[in-house]
Symmetry: C2
Subunit: 661 residues, 2 copies
């Protein structure tokens, strides 16, 4: 579209030298389609022919961090050995295997015996969903309610854990809730109430069925969201817009390594967390080198406890990542809708239940954001002149749909050195049917547990707790977490001159600010330790009782920030096996060991959250509600990393070229 | 660039009918250039020829709210009478005048006798800045320090208020600090320390001068930010990008009324707060009418206390809006830098010191933001399909530079009904010169009061407290502020069935969420009161002692949210006359009257803030740090306002037209 003038090129530093494209396999690359097929072959061969193992999770068994870093440091490194880890269900047992892909053999096999189970496969959910539709007692319940079974869809819900429910212990069970799809596509808004349906997934049959009571059905009217089905007039109309870039795209993707402006990072897919950012490094023109910022970042868990303790809803205390798999639940992104027209897409593969690779096209999108923000500016009156740099950032996006909720997960890189995250919550509310016909009735009741939104419809109160895994490595792995308080001080006038000022604040200790991961071994020229500080996201506190089953499992929400020593096996705040877990694994458990975290390879965990009191604007479709945090360099660079940012030349009015000087 | 197809037009509701363009003067339009000249003429005529009144502030004396609303309700209203208010300094007194523009006369004249003074004029600041440069004692001080006076610029700083400084009471004084401009344009980074220079502005002469001590000068090296003066290599390079829109711009400006998608609001300029948003209303297709959301919104005050109690800096406790005028300090926006290439600009006029209108071109910009966000979406697995709407918003921006700091002030309107604000802080740090040569020395000292950033340079600790005036009128003026807590509850199993769930949270009372302005007299069909809720911005708490002069003046920062009954005269949280005020006026004082705020015309005030611990990345130019809040409809609409949003047709690859079906 346009040409960069040669004289400009010589001004720009060359940042694309560290990882040559000859390295075919980055050691953190996700398993390819071929590798997944090979794992399938090797694993199946390791079992007797008729044992039919079900693949719940297959992913790269990543090399040790020091091996990855050594690999990176070599100019022409050998590829590191490729291993896979696989989690299977075989004869009602959970098997954990490690497979050596070069040796083509299973190198370790372990049976997991704790209470927690692996995440559900999509296929077993589908099979369980279909069970009620041919189950005699359910057909009678439907008839009693006047519901046409051909207009019913059902959905699996994990049961959580309550110590009193001893009948579930050791059994991989789920509950099924059914919905009407008559005259609407918003099935979650039309629940069939009063039924208890428990399915044993390993036996794939209904093991408990109760028809407790008949509740009124909410009305389908007003629940539609497809434009073609909505009554006129439509509007408002969204203006068409397209970002035209001088050099499009403004980044390169070399395998899974993305390079853009002063950033370089690795993007990979994992069936459990989905989008994983690794080895984010930023070029420092002073040091003439890339410097490490984050070894690994991803969403570790999403805990969504609903706040209705009654029979139909008390168990709805979901761990969306651990129970359903964020990666498996990631959707194919819609061009021009989920991502802007100038976005570039990446695909992914994961293992289906028999181990066959499943292809997810467009699972991530990457795009430059030119949102009209200001990178930095100043108008100087004393020596009149104005300097401005427009802001630009690079966004990597995944969208995860777990049932009714859609989560827009962004990682945003800024040339200033900041990494920002954002999660946008949209999709459809979880509602219950109730006998109310006016908000005042619901407000007067102790049993509404939500907002009265439409006839017979209560939007249930709930929370979202998102926990991020952030293995920050500021200039290498050995870091400290520094929490320094700003403290008020009385002016004691100890200086040479007395002043009438009575008070001020100062920072206690040597650290420069509140929440910093710093490298105590690396300092700027003036002597400040290199650091990245956390500007926290929206912080909420759990309101469940500490002795309630869901909160025992979700105890990683008791604090908003945790710091642990790096341990390759500690990735998931709610534990590795989350479905029906009893809080026996996870962040709160690991932390009790009280390990050393000062001047060590440490990991920070940040929990952000939203208490969600539904309102009518969330019905029938929730406008996106967003929040996130920022990791911002603090004394990491000697000076602003964007000081010498070169502004773009003016473009022609049609956006299709550069104005000639 | 493109055509809207006729069949689409009929689907779109017509929203541009309420305010016809025949109404030449909206009653809230700012004073025109001609009206300012008329005020100048009328005011000058009201004084004896040689009394030389100095104009510190001239603005529309806005009509009463009920008159404005009556005017709006009429199909063909007569223009409302135009009045101006003027604040002058005459013979060392502050005069407040009201001028009737039609009758061409002063209708009221009042002498303000409280301790506070009006905001400074730019011209008297310039005159005061020049005083030291020809002042014998200063020339000797400069010589003693080896500084060439031709390389010195000085800057005015307001003195705040300290009860002990009785010598300043009743005198309009400022302090002057001087800086070296040798080899740099970042003058704020090269302060000349150890001098006390006090200027009486009404007498325009130095009334106190002390040369207390000689401190080392920071070095100019490393303080430059002009790209042409920075050493090679430059970079990273910002990719050129241009938003090409199908219908550009996607909004109309009719006088000062902006209409876009479902929004309509009035944008005006006031020399004190600068950007003022008035009468923001949103079209409701269910009610087939525009509905009021916000009668008035603007930044009310910005309090910036520095945290160094020593002689050179203790008094630096600025009220940037009240002391310097946000409107007067608003800069002309730089196209393609301060605002994207597709932005549209508005101009402003204010009264100079002799009353002559001053023209500020490009003082506001307005643009559609297409940042690649998602308005709403859902992937439905049960009935497979995907629906997505891309997000779009409209941004109104002003940038205010008060000395070293640049503030990017945004108001953003979303079709969902949300109004978001954002303030971005950039520009140059305030630093002091100090004898340190390493960060460890500064950290060991009780007198550093900042971060050691470069040789002899301390970036001073400080706060930013931004107070927003938000006259929310949810469906009319009569509203209530509802603060409902989410409270944890023990499950008492009072329902028909016992469940093992131990706890949940609920919302106490009828209100749906935490911080809501609601109209108790207007309800949705299901019966929920119409409301807008506040999603707060970054909240900090003041750390100054309550008995310290600056905090007495800044007592409006003691709470993050205040609610007062509407009163036309109560607009500025720190009081009307802020310079050298003693806390005798403002939000904290008005609130003591404990007036009724339930089911009344109320105003919400929201204080957001940043504790700023400088870091090296802030040197020599601060990458923008942003924060803001959201006003989000909650049971204001019967359903999502963006449910029927019409997605744009796909555009051609060059962005210059629509793809034909």
């Amino acid at each position: 579209m346009a040409t960069i003038k040669p004289f400009l090129l010589v001004l720009l530093f060359s940042i694309f030298s560290r990882i040559s494209s000859s390295k075919t396999h980055h050691p953190l690359d996700p398993l390819t389609r071929e590798e997944l097929s090979l794992v399938q072959l090797i694993v199946k061969k390791s079992y007797p022919p008729r044992s039919s193992p079900v693949f719940h999770y297959v992913a790269l068994d990543e090399p040790e961090k020091h091996d990855v870093l050594s690999w990176l440091a070599k100019p022409e490194p050998e590829p590191l050995p490729r291993r896979a880890q696989a989690i299977l269900r075989v004869h009602k047992q959970t098997h954990e295997l490690v497979v050596d892909l070069k040796a083509r053999k299973v190198v370790s096999k372990h049976v997991h015996r704790g209470p927690g189970f692996p995440s559900l496969t999509l296929e077993e959910q589908t099979a369980a969903n279909d069970l009620p539709l041919t189950y005699g007692p359910f057909l009678r319940s439907a008839a009693k309610r006047g519901i046409d079974v051909s207009q019913v869809v059902c959905s699996v819900f994990t049961v959580g854990w309550f110590a009193e429910e001893k009948q579930f212990i050791g059994k991989r069970v789920v509950k099924i809730q059914c919905f009407s799809k008559k005259d609407t596509v918003s099935v979650y808004l039309l629940p069939v109430e009063g039924l208890t349906i428990v399915v044993d997934l390993d036996e794939m049959r209904i093991v408990e069925y109760k028809d407790r009571e008949v509740a009124p059905m909410p009305r389908a009217e007003g629940t539609e969201y497809r434009l073609s089905k909505l009554p006129l007039p439509h509007g408002p109309r969204i203006n068409g817009a397209r970002l035209v870039q001088e050099n499009a795209p403004g980044f390169t993707i070399d395998g899974n390594v993305v390079r853009w402006m002063n950033w370089e990072f690795h993007v990979s897919f994992d069936a459990r967390p989905g989008l994983v950012i690794s080895m984010a490094r930023i070029y420092d023109p002073d040091q003439k080198a890339f410097r490490s910022v984050m070894y690994r970042g991803h969403i570790s868990e999403l805990f969504v406890p609903y706040q209705d303790p009654t029979e139909d809803y008390y168990y709805k205390t979901f761990f969306d990542s651990g129970e359903f798999g964020f990666g498996v639940s990631a959707v194919s992104l819609v061009p021009n809708g989920d991502c802007p027209s100038h976005a570039v897409y990446m695909d992914a593969f994961y293992a289906g239940p028999d181990g066959t690779p499943v292809h997810v096209p467009n699972v991530f999108c990457i795009f430059e954001r030119h949102a009209g923000e200001v990178m930095w500016r100043h108008t100087e009156l004393a020596i009149p002149h104005v300097t401005v740099r427009p802001e630009v950032s690079l966004v990597v996006r995944m969208i995860v749909t777990v049932g009714n909720y859609d989560h827009v997960i962004d990682w945003e890189f800024k040339p200033s050195g900041s990494i920002k995250t954002q999660v946008g919550l949209t999709g459809i509310l979880e509602v219950k049917a109730a006998n109310y016909t006016h908000a005042d009735q619901a407000a007067a009741s102790e049993e509404a547990h939500g907002t009265y939104l439409a006839e017979h419809t209560i939007g249930l109160y709930h929370d979202h707790f998102l926990t991020y895994y952030l293995d920050i490595d500021v200039d290498g792995a050995t870091n400290s977490f520094v929490k320094k308080n700003l403290v008020p001080r009385r002016n004691t006038n100890t200086g040479h001159h007395r002043t009438p000022r009575k008070s001020y604040w100062t920072v206690l200790g040597v650290g420069p600010t509140e929440l910093v991961i710093e490298n105590p071994n690396k300092k700027t020229k003036p002597g400040n330790p290199h650091g990245y500080r956390l500007i926290p996201g929206p912080v909420i506190h759990p309101l469940l009782a500490p002795d309630d089953g869901p909160q025992i499992r979700g105890s990683f929400t008791n604090y908003n920030i945790w710091v642990t020593p790096y341990n390759k096996t500690e990735r998931y705040a709610g534990g590795k096996y989350v479905d029906q877990s009893q809080g026996e694994d996870g962040l709160a458990v690991w932390t009790r060991r009280n390990r050393k975290i000062e001047n060590e390879d440490i990991v920070m965990w940040h929990v952000i959250g939203f208490h969600h009191v539904p309102c009518q604007e969330d019905f029938p479709m929730m406008p996106t509600l967003s929040g996130g945090f920022e990791l911002r360099p603090t004394n990491f660079f000697e000076r602003s990393a964007v000081l010498k940012a070169v502004p773009p030349p003016p473009m022609k009015a049609d956006g299709c070229g550069v104005v000639e000087p």
